[in-house]
């Protein structure tokens, strides 16, 4: 792709990453922090995608595949994180009425 666009895309990744990083440290609510992680992730994937697009002719399949893998992994992590958050919430509520964490 044209040089200018490439630079644009190259910048987009780091920007998203930095935004995610900032809110990960600033936000307190679990859901927001999980989202922040995902934003960071998207930033990284965008960088990979840009690297794949450097080639003028055919795209570089290797970063492509890595992004795919990365996305799946982050989906899994998010799923686990959400379940954990859910369970933690239940535990908090339980503690409010003094019971042992129910599942």
């Amino acid at each position: 792709m044209p040089e200018a666009n490439l630079s644009l895309y190259l910048l987009a990744g780091p920007i998203l990453f930095a935004i995610g990083f900032y809110s990960l440290l600033v936000q307190r609510h679990v859901l927001r922090r999980i989202m922040a992680l995902n934003v960071m992730g998207v930033g990284v994937f965008l960088l990979f995608a840009t690297l794949a697009a450097r080639a003028d002719a055919a795209t570089d399949p290797v970063p492509h595949a890595m992004v795919l893998t990365g996305i799946v992994v982050s989906v899994c992590a998010t799923g686990l994180a959400l379940a954990l958050a859910h369970r933690l919430e239940a535990a908090e509520e339980d503690r409010a009425d003094g019971g042992e964490a129910k599942r």
């Binding site: 990453f17 992680l37 990284v44 686990l80 994180a81 954990l84 933690l88």
Partner: protein
């Protein structure tokens, strides 16, 4: 048996076992036992292969790097695999008895095995991989397995610890992955040995190295990125704490070594090396002091892990930038193996005391020898290795590090090593005193299944005697070490 089959056993046996353990929950324990047997067998064969054949490379899929992924087994990898096999085997024996007591239902207990076996898979894969993206995948597998295991305890504290651990671990992985991206963008390869040739100084590589190191330091819980470790390791079930302290944190450290001494060796400036050492020293001090004042036994042991991890990082300044870094290199890694065994034994014995007297507040430990002489003995024996008394493996490691520090005239590391030993002695003794105090009547206690006491004892004996095998370990570590075989030995 050909290399392919060894690799298949090491990587696929735990993986398949994990999947089956998920599909057939009731079979988990037996699958784990089978895995332990298979993996141990494979490790022994691999060690033999490496010792006489040198570094072994298996090209997965038959495509050589950079297109494909290479599995590389050098002495270091074999050592780590062996440690993982030993710890994994012991936990396999220990866990059922412990879980039977701490988790209410059969169903809950069965849930331990899939993540445990996945953890084992991740470790084996991590130690064998020579591809930095593949290493990222193993890191994620490792982290998710570890988090699931911590959460298994089900108590609120454990859940919170797991949550924090997950956040730290995921963001660390992303930092690492970003670094991988930059490396690929710069060098067009992900293979460590190719990187060693292609990587050179430059903005992208510097930043990449910084990002990856940052992520890995967080995973290795090096001070000041250790804050997540004590709650996680102290609140998890004892066998899980053992796995985390002895193996999981080492994963990050292992990749760090692979990067700095192989893939990115061109970028390791003396200043950077010293920085790692300084952080290590800080970790020793901070971890030891916290251990010294910890209210609960498992917290003490967890902080001791923070401190002991500091020692590992001393090997970086002592081994970097010299023609014979091998002394420090082997010292640090022998220390790592010894710490793995000793720390596992410690957590397991702590678990026994917890099990027997119901709590692990240290001031309630008085006269625990009345109830659990074996476990107290185990704790003391593994303590010997942590302190570094001969002939323990801890001593062998510290001796080599000390020799390297003196040989290079870096006296501040000499002081750090000795001071750290004294601090370790202080917090180990702190516990032992309670074991010897006379009490009117022995504490009310539940009987502890023998398997729980004997497995822990066996490990502590191993740790205490590991010094005698240090030469063997050094010979193994020589294979594929970053230094030419000149100046071998001479500690």
């Amino acid at each position: 048996m050909s290399l392919a089959w060894i690799m298949a056993l090491l990587l696929l046996a735990p993986l398949v076992a994990a999947s089956l353990a998920f599909a057939l929950p009731a079979a988990g324990r037996w699958l784990a036992l089978a895995t332990a047997a298979a993996v141990s067998f494979a490790v022994v064969r691999l060690a033999a292969l490496v010792l006489d054949g040198g570094v072994q490379v298996h090209r997965v899929g038959g495509w050589a790097a950079p297109l494909g992924i290479d599995l590389r087994a050098d002495g270091l990898a074999v050592l780590m695999l062996a440690v993982a096999a030993i710890i994994g085997g012991v936990v396999t024996l220990y866990a059922p008895a412990y879980l039977a007591n701490s988790l209410a239902t059969r169903g809950e207990r069965d849930r331990f095995w899939p993540p445990f076996l996945m953890l084992w898979t991740a470790l084996d894969a991590l130690f064998l991989s020579a591809d930095i993206f593949n290493l990222y995948v193993t890191l994620e597998l490792l982290a998710l397995a570890a988090v699931s295991l911590v959460a298994l305890a089900g108590k609120r504290a454990a859940l919170e610890a797991a949550m924090r651990y997950l956040f730290v671990s995921l963001s660390a992985s992303l930092l690492y992955l970003l670094g991988v991206g930059l490396v690929y963008g710069e060098c067009g390869t992900l293979d460590l040995s190719l990187l060693a040739v292609r990587s050179g100084p430059g903005p992208a590589m510097w930043v990449a190295a910084a990002l990856m190191s940052g992520g890995l330091l967080a995973k290795a819980a090096l001070f000041p990125m250790h804050f997540w470790l004590p709650p996680a390791h102290a609140n998890a079930p004892a066998p899980v704490s053992a796995l985390l302290s002895s193996l999981v944190v080492k994963g990050g450290f292992y990749i760090l070594l692979r990067l700095w001494f192989e893939g990115l060796s061109g970028l390791l400036t003396p200043a950077a090396a010293q920085l790692f050492g300084v952080l290590g020293a800080a970790a020793i001090l901070w971890g030891s002091l916290n251990a010294l004042f910890a209210p609960r036994l498992k917290i003490l042991v967890a902080y001791s892990t923070v401190a002991q991890l500091g020692y590992l990082f001393l090997l970086i300044p002592l081994a970097a930038g010299t023609t014979d870094g091998f002394t420090a290199w082997s010292g640090g890694l022998i220390f790592l193996a010894a710490h793995a065994c000793a720390k596992t034994a410690m957590f397991l014995s702590a678990g026994n005391m917890l099990h027997a007297v119901g709590g692990d507040r240290i001031r309630d430990l008085d006269g625990v020898t009345h109830v659990l002489p074996l476990s107290a003995f185990t704790f003391g024996l593994s303590g010997m290795s942590l302190v570094g008394l001969p002939p323990s493996g801890g001593f062998a490691g510290k001796w080599l590090l000390l020799g390297a520090a003196i040989a290079r005239g870096q006296w501040w590391w000499v002081a750090t090593l000795l001071g750290g030993s004294l601090l370790a002695a202080a917090y180990v003794i702190r516990v032992l005193f309670h074991a010897f105090t006379r009490v009117a009547a022995p504490a009310r206690s539940r009987p502890v299944p023998p398997v729980m006491e004997w497995t822990a004892l066996a490990l502590s004996v191993l740790a205490a005697g590991l010094g005698f095998t240090a030469r063997g370990s050094a010979t193994l570590l020589r294979v594929g070490a970053p230094w030419p075989s000149a100046g071998a030995g001479r500690a």
